[in-house]
Amino acid sequence: MIRAFSTQRLLAASVLCLLLFLGTSPWKVAAAQDDLLSMLDAEQAKEPTYTIATFKASRLINGQTIETVSKNHLNFWISHRFGAVNSGFIANFFGLDEAKIRLGLEYGITDRWLVGAGRSSLEKTYDLYSKYKVLRQSNKMPVTVTAMAGWGINTMPTGYVMESGATMKFDNNIERYSYWSQLLVARKFTEKLSLQLMPTLIHINKVENPSMSNQVLALGAGGRYKLSQRVTLSAEYYHSFVDSEDEDDDYDYADDQDTAYPYRDALSFGVDIETGGHVFQFHLTNARGMVEKQFIAQNVGSWGKGDIFYGFNIARTFSFDKAARNAHK
C-alpha cells in the first residue's frame, strides 16, 4: 500500500517536472500565440468572405456581367464596332472605314445597385438600364446573381430600312420602345475561370413583320479565362428561342429563302487588357449592336458568311467617393 503510494508520488513529481519544463520552453510560447491566432480564425470565419472580381468589367463583350460599379463610382464606356471583315479592302478597308459607336455611363448608387445610360449610333438608339446584385458569391454562397432591366428607344426616322432589309414605319413614339430583362448568374470557379448564364426576355413594341413575335426569349452563356494578371480571354453566346420553323405559322420563314428568318444568334470572342484605371476589351463578333435588343433579338450578322466585326470597348472608372477618401484623415 505504502509502496504503491510512493510510486504514484514519483509519477506525479515527474509529471510536474515535465509540465514545468514545458511551461518555460519556447515551444509553449509559440503554442500560446498560435492558440490566440486560432481564436481569431474561428471568430473571423463566422463572417462570409465575398468573392471579388468575377469579371474585369460590368460588360463581358456585348452583354452584361454580374459585376456592378462600386458606390459613387462612375464608369464611362466607349464602344466601337467596325464594319464587317468581308466588306472589302478598297471599298471599306476590311471594315475599318466605318464604325458604329455606343457611348455609355454607369453609376453605382450602392455597391450592389447600378444605373446606366447610353446612346448607340446603330438605329440611333438611347438606352437606360439598371442592375442589382441580388446574391453575392462567398464561402457560403455558390453563385452571384444580378438582375438587370433596361429600356431603349429607336430614334430613326420613320420608314427607315432596317439591317434585315425590312422597312420600319412608326406611327407613334410608343412603337419605338423596347424592353429587356435579364437574370445574370455567375460563378468564379477558380481565380482564372468564371462562367455566366444569362436567361433573357426582350420585348419589342413594334417588329417589322406581323408574324414575328414581339417577345424574344433567349439564353446566354459566357465566361472568361485569365491568361495573366492583366490579360483575359472571354467568350459570349446568346441563343434566341425563336419559332422560325413552325409549320402552322401562316408565314413560314424556313420554307422561303427570300424571307427566311433574318436574325441569328450572336457569338463573340474577346481579349480584355487591364491597365490601372482602364479596361480595354477587343473582340470579334457577328453582332454589331451594343444594346440588348439589337445583339440578342435583331442580329443579322453571320459568322458563316464572314459578317465578322472587329470591335472594342474601353471602360474608364472614376471615383467620386469623397466620404471614403476623407475617412482616413
Binding site: L11, L37, L40, Q44, I52
Partner: protein
C-alpha cells in the same frame, strides 16, 4: 492508477492554470491602415475589422485581418490590390503573432512604450519582425497603437514596371486597437 490520473489532471490544470492571474484583452474591430507615398500617387487603405488578442499575463499578442476588408477610396484600386498584388484569394489574411518583450504590468494604469517580436505573415510569406508601439492601460481597456514599415519586396509582392512609380517600395503600416477584457 485512477489516483495518478487524478493527480496528473490536477497538474495539467495547474499548468494551464498559470493563466489564473492573466486576462485576455480582445477586439474584432481594430483599425489597421497602410500608406504608400510616391511623387506620382498617394495610396491609403483602412481595415476596420482587424481581430486582435493580447494576453496580459504572458504578454502574447496576435492580430489577424482579412485582406478583402481593406477599404480604398478608389474601388478599382481595391480590386487591383486584392487581385494583382496581395492575391487575396490565395492568401486571404495578414497576421502577426508575437510577444511583448518588456515586462510591463498592464493591470496598472499608465502609458507604456512597448516592443513586440514575432512573425508577420503577408501574402503567404512569414518573416520575423520587431514592432514598436504604445499601450495605454485604462480601467476598462488597453489602447494599443503601433507603426512599422513593410518592404513589398520582402513579402514577394510584385509591382509591375508599368506602375512602379505609383507604388512605394516601403509601405507604412499603422494600427489602432481598443482591446477590451
Amino acid at each position: 492508477m485512477k489516483k495518478s490520473i487524478l493527480i496528473f489532471s490536477f497538474f495539467l490544470m495547474l499548468g494551464s492554470g498559470l493563466s489564473f492571474g492573466q486576462t485576455l484583452y480582445r477586439t474584432s474591430v481594430g483599425e489597421v491602415s497602410f500608406f504608400s507615398k510616391t511623387p506620382a500617387l498617394d495610396i491609403e487603405a483602412l481595415n476596420k475589422k482587424a481581430g486582435a488578442i493580447l494576453n496580459s499575463g504572458t504578454r502574447d499578442f496576435a492580430i489577424q485581418m482579412k485582406i478583402t476588408d481593406f477599404q480604398f477610396p478608389n474601388k478599382l484600386m481595391q480590386e487591383h490590390f486584392n487581385e494583382n498584388y496581395l492575391e487575396s484569394e490565395k492568401f486571404p489574411t495578414a497576421k502577426f503573432a508575437g510577444k511583448i518583450t518588456e515586462e510591463v504590468d498592464l493591470s496598472k494604469l499608465g502609458t507604456y512604450p512597448v516592443t513586440a517580436t514575432g512573425n508577420l505573415t503577408i501574402h503567404g510569406v512569414t518573416k520575423p519582425v520587431t514592432v514598436k508601439g504604445t499601450i495605454v492601460a485604462s480601467a476598462t481597456q488597453l489602447g494599443l497603437t503601433f507603426a512599422f514599415n513593410v518592404r513589398t519586396e520582402d513579402y514577394k509582392i510584385e509591382v509591375p514596371t508599368l506602375v512602379f512609380n505609383k507604388i512605394a517600395e516601403v509601405i507604412e503600416v499603422k494600427g489602432k486597437l481598443s482591446l477590451m477584457k
